[in-house]
Symmetry: C2
Subunit: 678 residues, 2 copies
């Protein structure tokens, strides 16, 4: 119990630290009034989107909570009913609050980063990273806090320690549900606005990107926040929550060996990961002229090493078995390996992106074929990494001499991988902040100097965003195996026999769900884009003075219309993701559901990897050409590369990230509803 209070205390301390950091960011100057004006419009648009989005999610969430309550209730399990529903609502609410706080921080950091850019890069980097760190720390510590509080609550009610983890599985499901809709809605919004702004602005009206005359331009900037920031935040919130709960359930299975310490182990580790992140943030400083990526990397290494050291002591003290420390190291190394794999496939220094650029010379079709081939290929190293991590950490765990220690080894590897989650999230949120800073500078006609700095930061932000996606998919893959095991514990099955026809059919449907969900997610972007395209065209007609600069476009209207479109289009894929697993579980029962879950997860990992890396590679192939290679901007080669970039957008920013969340939703949903499928 002391360990729970320790985790609770550290998570509260981390929140205090985040508040302190936020105060520092908010104290920074906001720059000229024209900067502030643009920033305010973005802020309003983003909060309008969030308000409406969370209303929709809240509505769906309430229905699901009631369903959970009554479905369990009518099967005579009223206790299980209120417990699951309570944890579900609490998880959903925590995730929503974390998302809202993190995003409101991000839309306040952007203008300050732009303002700081006037004094050069180091200052701007500091503001952007600290702004991102506030989000990262809040999200990870709230996820930890929620679980600790639930644990405290049930132990005060007098429940047995080893029963509690099963009572709070609804928390992960609630977080997943919010994450699914946050990522889907945000992802659809951001790409619909992006595609819409480009198609009408650049192509039809012939005005440059981020031009203030384009009514869709604010929607585009709002999109960066709601997609990359709020969406990914909810994603990582869910990851850490689900992983904590799953590991605790495995800890229960090991209660005879480790006692309560085995259950609390993941929470304590996460808490020390937060401390490592805080120190890492402070060590990421840069000097004028430095490559900003270097200082971010330095912070990451500091965080990783500190996390590894903490890992050593926590493992030694709590488990008294250092084999698990090695399993944790496997996870940390895996997270670093994923960073390099992602870089190889998405940076223009390497073969894959160059290949796409070369293929663009023979036209649109060869660009697409080549990018698709790169995306598919990138699954190879990814799977090798995941497989090696699983096998190795299993082996280390088996050496421990603990019964089912192998399985626990893979769980510890996941904890290792997620130890640096808050830092990675900080780097990720850094992306939309710098992206927005650049957009704000562009729109307010800020001096050349500011724009040069923000451009540099923006390029770094693109890289960090790609890396986070690789990290998210890697951790989702490791966490998945742990969550499967937790599910099997819950349904009291120890075997998932794929040779049974029902299980095989479940597996087939699981893989199909990934394909169908991707189809709907991609298509949703196209549909939502039509809303904004039509509105921009209408605005140009209604206000002929926009192009000459004598009239101002109605940015808010464009945001509002895109919001409605995105939220409408997120419903169908979201509902599909929730209902299919329930139906499979009810009709084909628990073992088939496990097959569904596992093969759905495998397919999801590969599809998401393909889409993230393919999309990133297309994007950077275009940028490579824009740097002046192979004919440069405005060449036919460039036109072909733009096609690839546009195709890649919904891949890497809508479907791919939504698939990460889908994978985890499948796990948390089956965990929360396990009793229905037995």
């Amino acid at each position: 119990m002391d360990y729970n209070l320790l985790a609770l205390g550290i998570s509260l301390l981390a929140l205090v630290f985040a508040a302190f950091l936020a105060k520092w960011v908010l104290r920074q100057p906001q720059g000229s009034s024209s900067l502030q004006e643009v920033s305010n419009i973005i802020k309003q648009g983003a909060s309008a989107f969030l308000k409406r989005q969370y209303r929709t999610i809240g509505f769906i969430g309430m229905i699901l909570a009631l369903l959970l309550f009554f479905v369990y209730g009518f099967s005579g399990k009223w206790d299980q009913g209120w417990q699951t529903a309570l944890a579900f609502v609490f998880g959903a609410a925590s995730s929503a609050i974390a998302g809202i706080v993190a995003m409101s921080m991000s839309v306040r950091s952007n203008v300050r980063a732009a303002a700081a850019a006037e004094d050069g890069l180091p200052g701007a980097l500091k503001v952007a990273l600290r702004g991102g760190a506030v989000s990262g720390i809040i999200i990870v510590s709230m996820s930890l806090l929620g679980i600790s509080l639930l644990f405290l609550f049930y132990s005060l009610l007098g429940y047995d320690f080893i029963k509690i983890p099963s009572l709070i599985v609804g928390y992960g499901f609630g977080a997943s549900l919010v994450a699914l809709f946050a990522q889907l809605g945000g992802g659809i919004f951001t790409k619909a606005a992006d595609v819409g702004a480009d198609l009408v602005g650049k192509i039809e009206a012939g005005i440059p990107e981020d031009d203030p005359r384009n009514p869709a331009v604010i929607a585009d900037l709002v999109g960066d926040n709601v997609g990359d920031c709020a969406g990914r935040g909810a994603d990582i919130f869910e990851s850490t929550a689900a992983e904590n709960i799953g590991a605790m359930i495995l800890g229960v299975a090991l209660y005879p060996v480790f006692g309560i310490k085995g259950i609390m182990f993941p929470l304590v580790l996460r808490a020390f990961g937060l401390i490592a992140t805080i120190i890492g943030i402070y060590s990421a400083k840069s000097k004028e002229g430095d490559n900003p990526m270097k200082s971010l990397n330095k912070g990451y290494w500091v965080t990783s090493i500190l996390a590894a050291i903490a890992f050593y002591f926590v493992t030694d003290i709590m488990l008294g078995n250092l084999w698990f420390f090695w399993a944790g190291i496997v996870g940390i190394v895996n997270s670093i390996a994923f960073v390099y794999i992602t870089q190889y496939y998405t940076e223009s220094r390497f073969r894959p992106v160059r290949e796409i650029a070369t293929a663009s010379q023979t036209g649109h079709a060869t660009n697409i074929i080549s990018g698709f081939a790169v995306g598919l290929e990138s699954t190879g190293l990814t799977v090798v990494g995941i497989s090696a991590s699983l096998l190795l950490s299993y082996w280390f765990g088996s050496q421990s001499g603990v019964p089912t220690g192998g399985l626990y080894g893979t769980a510890v590897a996941t904890m290792g991988m997620l130890a640096t989650a808050a830092y990675v999230l900080a780097m990720d949120v850094f992306g939309p902040i710098t992206d927005n800073a650049g957009g704000i500078a562009e729109m307010s006609n800020a001096p050349e100097k500011i724009r040069k700095t923000t451009d540099k930061l923006d390029a770094v932000g693109n890289t960090t965003k790609a890396l986070t996606k690789g990290y998210a998919i890697g951790s989702a893959a490791l966490a998945a195996f742990l969550l499967f095991s937790a599910y099997l514990e819950e349904v009291h099955i120890s075997i998932v026999d794929l040779a049974k026809v029902k299980v095989f059919v479940g597996a087939l449907i699981g893989a199909m769900l990934v394909f169908l969900f991707s189809s709907l997610a991609i298509r949703a972007v196209g549909k939502a884009a039509y809303y904004i395209i039509n509105d921009v065209r209408a605005q140009f007609k209604e206000k002929p003075g926009i192009m000459s600069g004598s009239e101002k476009p109605d940015y808010a209207r464009a945001v509002d219309i895109t919001t409605r479109g995105a939220l409408k289009e997120m419903i169908l894929p979201g509902i599909l993701a929730v209902t299919v697993p329930i139906l499979v579980g009810i009709f084909l029962r628990a073992e088939a559901e496990a097959g569904f879950l596992m093969v759905g997860t495998i397919t999801g990992i590969l599809m998401a990897t393909m889409m993230n890396n393919g999309g990133g590679a297309w994007d950077n192939a275009k940028k490579y050409i824009e740097e002046g290679h192979l004919g440069g901007k405005k060449s036919a080669t460039h036109a072909a590369a733009v096609t690839g970039d546009t195709v890649g957008d919904p891949f890497k920013d809508t479907a791919g990230p939504s698939l990460h969340v889908l994978i985890k939703l499948l796990s948390t949903l089956t965990l929360a509803l396990a009793l229905l499928f037995i």
Copy 2:
């Protein structure tokens, strides 16, 4: 044993019938000398390709045969070694012979179909369908003959009946190996030639499709034969061979119930399917003015109904249990359902193709996104169909009261689905014959009337090709489950526990292999296309008179260069497909190999479905626009649709069909090498 002689006799009779039909086709007039001239060049190109391709395949095959022999031998199983190697070589050789005979028939039917077109559609249809039927019947009956002969051979050597099926598993592996390389090489050749001819001809030189001045045009026509005809033929040869063997192994497990009849059941059924096909071919006649698709459909229905009737009697007599008849009906209905699903997703009458056409109005990128979404979506109904068939046939089988009858039910469903294989193959080969007939007419400046008729036939051929792919994937999916079970019998495992970390890793690698293989297959097309593009450019330079018509291009050189390119590029994906399963089996052992096999199969089914249907839909969206919709030919919308069509080409004609073969190769390979993995 009498049953084996029955199957052997019917397959020999079917071959005699095929010879008789071939004679009829060859008796038909070959038309004008200019028609014949073009046809001869195609014939030469195709046989040059085949010769070189089979030399490469033969080389790889010999190495594998030796490997099989020695690997088994050095593990002390010399008997198993020579048996497996012998069956392997026999299977590979039979498949190669069937492919060569079928293709040499196809390249002789094309010019005759073109000549017959002068007298109107019914005659041309008859020639083309009968030409296709020769291939279809030869391929299916040779596959049956080979197995019957092997069975006879071992029974004459005095082996116990119930041991023999395990001794001939190498036959399926040999057939798969040939099919893999035939489909890969053919698929790469056909699309490299197609893309190459289009890029240099249409885009750079500005001459229409099938223009005799384009040096790549003959390669394009050769490609139709080697890809669609020889490739698909090897594919179906393998399907029927693998399914026969797998079902016989399951029959061995049921020996206590059905005796030898259970083992011979699949062979006898296949034999009656051949008879049904022969009658079906004769009933597919058309009158002038009829829709030719109608008469092909009529023949298909006749074949299906006759097959169902034969099924009833054979089941009743041999198994004495009519529950299995119903399981067989499930398979027949499933094959019809697949025809309709494919039609829905690839014909311009329906929503999906229309959606792609509409999306082409906003450019290349939206065309691609939309086509991709359609391909992904099409996996939904496909999986519902497969799942329903598996569950239903399992249920029927369980009702039979026979132990493990459910499993045998799914096997019988597969037999039902494959009962019409020869007819479907006839329709498929009909495709390249009519396609070639059109090309020959175009190139030899044949009268308008001929070209109109061949155009109509060509359109029908496109549909039949798409349908066959749907059929091939559906039957591969059903057959897969049966082959898994056969594998499990061979390695004496009854459970494939996905919750074990090794099995899960095997599964992960299986899914990854599909992604990686697809990547390599797609990329190979692009690489091979460069060979022909460079050659065409060189020919235009070397012979400036080509464009004015005063010089003739060197068609043979273009064919030769494409051949080298395609064969070189098929090696890497081919080797990958063979080595990965062996490595997984050796390092992770039999149960993980089963997980690898099953999840690889699931992913392969989905990926192939996505690629086949996406590619078909893109193709027909372009054709829909060319018919004058949405701006028609030469509009920007059309240009966008052409991009989709070009992207779809390697999807639907290289990677997709190669994936069918890959799936089955995985099964036959694991079966043949099962003893190594225990």
